[in-house]
Symmetry: C2
Subunit: 197 residues, 2 copies
DNA sequence: TTCATTTTGTATCGATCGTTACAAAATGGA
DNA sequence: TCCATTTTGTAACGATCGATACAAAATGAA
């Protein structure tokens, strides 16, 4: 057998993820990744083939560790609409608790790289499809719970919510202001086909 | 007197704008700017002080030549709601007619640089405030024309529209699909407090 | 203990990064 | 025509880019 690695791949991906998340792909250097992960360039290139390949692994890691985690945490709550509301509200905590604030690796990557890199675009599409499906399921449960009108087109509203989420991420970067975000989310929630009691 | 410039600053800013728009700030090199503008690095650094300063000038140029132009073109139409609809629809033409597609320099810059660069964030805020005010004016005219309910809070809906626009820009980069965008814009317009006839 | 195999640390590769020094070229005023 | 001033082209600066060559270190199998 051979010499074993002195790191866990998941830890390295998490640390690299934070760097790419904050500085973007072009703004992140291999030196910076060495410092953040504690590995040498040799080890990084031995495990991952290139900066591009590492970034692809980081995108997958983000989808699992951040996107899916937030879906499970908020969009599967018993009270579907309350969970949805908390999901949107929590984006502000997520953004503002970082120094400097970081919106979303998927949205950042979409605007930096997806236009020219089809493989990256496919990864982003997969991550956003997870969110869109989770929104649709959440809305469907809200319909069944009598929170939304029975004729609510959950698939279309799910795409609308995904649109609003991406908008929130951009807006929160320019206006890192909780009151503004909260008012915006009020508007997003109020636009849903609510069932009045 | 001195030797005159052999270029018009506005032309240089337009050409540099397209490069930054497509590749981002970190992804754009001075060599690339030389090629796109036809100027040497000497002339670029003689007129602008640095890559950062050139980028700041480019942002101002974008706000005037793209943002304000699109406001004048669409959001000042006689039929306010129809103009608003065409404004959103036109984002797809704007994105898809470029090879590769380019969303919006303001949104791109927001996610790439605004978190760490306060001067840039202030510029973006100014550009987006132009849009927000134009949305509010447009909605106000729609109210006066009897297209929207009289109790419509135009300022809040203007912020909501800005949110949706930023979402459209991110989404269109990942899904450059006219039908999808059109359906999303349907949802955005339908959410407005329309006055039924 | 020897060996095949993989990881690690060091040191550096050629290319490109943003930026600048310097002199020739181009102007209107004296 | 000569001068002061600014722009331009050439050439290159030190720093950093992504990536790699190479040998020492570390493992389990034989």
């Amino acid at each position: 057998m051979a010499r074993p690695s002195q790191f866990r791949e998941s830890d390295v991906l998490t640390r690299a993820m934070l760097v790419f998340w904050q500085h973007g792909f072009a703004g992140t250097s291999v030196r910076h990744l060495e410092q953040a992960t504690g590995l040498t360039a040799s080890s990084l290139y031995n495990r991952f083939d290139s900066k591009e390949a590492l970034f692809a692994s980081v995108l997958d890691h983000y989808i699992i560790k951040v996107v899916q985690w937030r879906i499970d945490r908020y969009l599967c709550a018993d009270d579907a609409l309350a969970g949805l509301r908390r999901f949107f509200d929590s984006t502000y905590d997520y953004i503002s608790q970082q120094r400097p604030p970081m919106a979303c690796l998927l949205a950042n990557t979409a605007l930096e790289k997806s236009a020219t890199d089809l493989a990256v675009r496919a990864q982003l599409d997969r991550g956003l499809a997870l969110l869109e499906d989770a929104f649709a399921d959440c809305l469907q449960r809200a319909v069944q719970a009598g929170q939304l009108r029975a004729d609510c087109d959950c698939s279309r509203w799910a795409r609308h919510l995904l649109l609003c989420l991406q908008g929130v991420l951009v807006d929160s970067t320019i206006h890192p202001d909780h009151a503004r975000l909260s008012e915006l989310v009020d508007g997003v929630m109020a636009a849903l086909p609510l069932l009045q009691h």
